[in-house]
């Protein structure tokens, strides 16, 4: 019971106390669950194929990029698994943040009329994308099982770590973009362009091993160019997904070059942990930005 808890409202934005806030959001989890349920339902209701649509998108991707890779001579063995293992995670990331960008605006009427923790809105975008991700991953795992594509014990451990890292990084960006987009609608346009560039900077459709081979001979300001390439968190996450699902125990070559980076599982795990820690720090910062700005959402809309 929180009877007689005194709530004080002043002009000052309240301080963000993470534990307290998490507890508050948890107590209103029903709102979050219902919003996710609503989005999914609305997305698939009165469509004949329903949730199958969320599977068609990666399949079309697969067909197109499989074709391109074949033409370009980058054909990787088991390209399906190489592509999907990372692409599904990438799709989760981009769907989350593009929907989160609009989440506050699209629910403007609620924001203006109902009091609830505003974090619920971007979180529900992540939840909806997460549902599709789980669905798609189940299909991928089924496919791997049917084609008896093996995974190896230590490498597969990278998978849950990569998922958690993706989630943390996605949440951090979602809060920031959702909050900024309320005031500056430029953000959503900028976002679409950035994601396009970002996609090609991340080794999702092309072999990461090739990048390592090419870049490690160059230096920028005395830093190895491949190290700079790894500063993109989505690259580290992608590398981890590849190693966990695609390259476990296999030495895969593409046109005579290694398809995967030469790092061991332990090095990749370390990279991933670094990204995770950085994401959590970023999340704390962007959450505060969101929290502070959220007090004005009802006015800005």
């Amino acid at each position: 019971m929180q009877a007689n808890v005194l709530v004080v409202r002043t002009s000052e934005p309240p301080r963000l106390r993470v534990v307290e806030r998490v507890r508050e959001i948890w107590s209103r989890r029903e709102v979050l669950l219902n919003l996710v349920r609503k989005e999914l339902k609305v997305k698939y209701v009165s469509s004949f194929l329903g949730a199958v649509w969320s599977l068609l998108n990666p399949i079309v991707f697969l067909a197109v990029f499989g074709f391109v890779a074949l033409i370009a001579g980058l054909a990787l063995p088991n390209f399906t698994i190489y592509l999907l293992s990372a692409l599904l995670g990438w799709n989760f990331f981009t769907t989350s943040i593009t929907n989160a960008a609009r989440s506050v605006i699209d629910n403007g009427n609620l924001v203006k009329k109902v009091a609830f923790p505003r974090e619920v809105l971007p979180l529900s975008s992540i939840g909806v994308a997460g549902f599709d991700y789980v669905l798609q991953m189940v299909v991928l795992f089924l496919f791997m099982a049917l084609t008896t594509y093996g995974v190896s014990a230590p490498a597969i451990l990278l998978f849950p770590l990569a998922v958690v890292t993706t989630l943390a990084f996605t949440s951090a960006l979602s809060f920031l973009i959702a909050a900024l987009n309320v005031r500056y609608r430029d953000v959503q346009h900028l976002l679409n362009l950035s994601l396009l560039v970002w996609f090609w900077l991340t080794p999702i459709v092309y072999p990461e091993g090739l990048v390592q081979e090419k870049l490690q001979h160059y230096h920028l300001l005395g830093v190895n160019a491949f190290r700079l390439y790894l500063l993109n968190p989505m690259t580290d996450i992608t590398i981890a997904f590849h190693r966990a699902l695609y390259g476990a125990g296999h030495t895969i070559v593409s046109s005579g070059k290694p398809a995967l980076v030469s790092y061991g599982v332990d090095t990749i795990a370390l990279l991933l942990c670094a990204v995770l820690v950085a994401s959590l720090i970023l999340l704390r910062v962007t959450w505060k930005v969101f929290f502070d700005l959220s007090g004005d959402f009802a006015e800005e809309l």
Binding site: Q2, A3, N4, V5, L6, V7, V8, R9, T10, S11, P13, R28, E30, V31, L33, N34, L35, R37, K38, K41, V42, V45, S46, N109, L110, V111, K112, K113, V114, A115, F116, R183, Y184, R185, D186, G295, D296, A298, E299, E300
Partner: protein, 394 residues
């Protein structure tokens, strides 16, 4: 009762009104500060709501009622001042918040109720009651896009009245539905009151305020214009609504050489304080007590239409040819108003005692008394009027 569930202290709220709100970085850089017009929706508003009491919040459109509710609910932040609030709070600012046309009635109930702070278990428990209240038993598995607007309102309200907060903010939502449904809603508010919940009720229906509230606050252009008993505040509101903005409104004045000791508005059956039927006579009985010998007393009354505040009837003893004789003590003056020919509604009565010779005001009570005129629904009896018949070739 002694603890305040809500304390509003010197709350001010400033809005910036943009001609066109800059929503991009470019616009924001280009637009100068001066283009935004500042507007104070609230200025130093203070009031308390004791636990378990009901406060009526009235004021014309744009007076800041909804803004203060939103600040109390935590939807808006005050520009200055403090709100202290104790206990679980639920704000009903809109019916059916979050309703989505593609979802079924059942799904919308769960969605909407969660916004109002109910847990899944709460809703499971009250679901049947909600459906019964909305009278939509057969339609709960239909998408609400097939509902009529009346059904939607009923569903929204049914969820709203099943919330379980200690503090309830209700904005205008009582003003929906037909008579019967409204009566049901009022009944629920009374239940809430009996259960000891604290309520703030925002409404345009002034009758509801006197009917339901313990106290009332009137906001006018963002400041507290008056607070006090519902009767006083509602009377003030009527003045302001009618454009008679009289900050010097004095309900009583005069030298009190003679005083109004009592006023009764008597129906033909001899009872006082009951509604008058349309077309019935009315007796206005004024008891006067003198504090010194008075030999030139003039008693007058004025009846004002409560809807328009226009005077509709007046009379005075002197001009009626009745000179009240010199007296020291008590007198009773009766104005016998023949068949009262006015519209049904509320009427205010002003009583005045003055001097016939000098015009000195002894005692005036402005709109202190009121009576209702009601129409009795009658069954149309058989009539005997001629009917002409025409037949034409086509």
């Amino acid at each position: 009762m002694s603890v305040a569930a809500i304390e509003v202290r010197d709350v001010s709220k400033r809005f910036r009104l943009y001609r066109e709100k800059p929503t991009s970085i470019k616009q924001r850089l280009l637009s100068t500060r001066s283009r935004a017009v500042e507007f104070w929706a609230l200025r130093d508003v203070s009031f308390d709501v004791p636990q378990g009491s009901t406060l009526g919040l009235i004021g014309h459109n744009g007076s800041g009622k909804t803004t203060i509710l939103k600040i109390i609910a935590g939807i808006l932040r005050p520009t200055a001042g403090i709100v202290n609030q104790r206990g679980r709070l639920s704000a009903l600012l809109e019916l059916g918040a979050g309703f989505h046309p593609e979802l079924t009635g059942r799904e919308n109930v769960y969605l909407n109720a969660s916004f109002l702070g109910l847990t899944r278990r709460d809703i499971d428990r009250t679901y049947d009651a909600i459906v019964e209240f909305a009278e939509l038993e057969q339609f709960m598995d239909n998408q609400v896009k097939f509902y009529s607007s009346g059904m939607l309102v009923r569903l929204g309200f049914a969820v709203a009245v099943h919330v379980d907060p200690e503090v309830l903010l209700i904005d205008e939502v009582l003003a929906v539905g037909d008579e019967a449904f409204q009566a049901k809603c009022i009944g629920r508010v009374r239940d809430f009151q009996r259960e000891g919940r604290t309520i703030i009720l925002v409404t345009h229906a002034l009758g509801r305020v006197t009917e339901l509230c313990d106290r009332a606050v009137m906001l006018h252009h963002g400041v507290v214009h008056k607070q006090g008993t519902p009767e006083d505040v509602v009377r003030e509101m009527r003045y302001v609504l009618l454009g008679i903005e009289d900050p010097d409104f004095v309900p009583e004045e005069g030298s009190r050489a003679a005083e109004i000791a009592g006023v009764d508005l008597i129906a033909p059956d001899g009872r006082a304080g009951v509604p008058i039927l349309v077309g019935d006579p009315l007796t206005i009985q004024v008891d006067v007590r003198s504090n010194r010998p008075v030999d030139d007393l003039d008693v007058d009354f004025q009846v004002l239409d409560g809807a328009t505040n226009h005077p509709v009837l007046d009379a005075r003893t002197s001009s009626g040819g009745m000179d009240v004789a010199s007296f020291d003590g008590k007198k009773r003056v009766r104005f016998l108003v023949d068949a009262f020919p006015y519209q049904p509604g509320k009427y205010w009565v002003t009583i005045g005692l003055s001097s016939r010779t000098t015009g000195e005001l002894y005692h005036v009570q402005t709109q202190r008394y009121a009576f209702d005129v009601v129409d009795v629904p009658r069954i149309q009896e058989r009539v005997d009027v001629s009917v002409q018949i025409e037949v034409d070739d086509l």
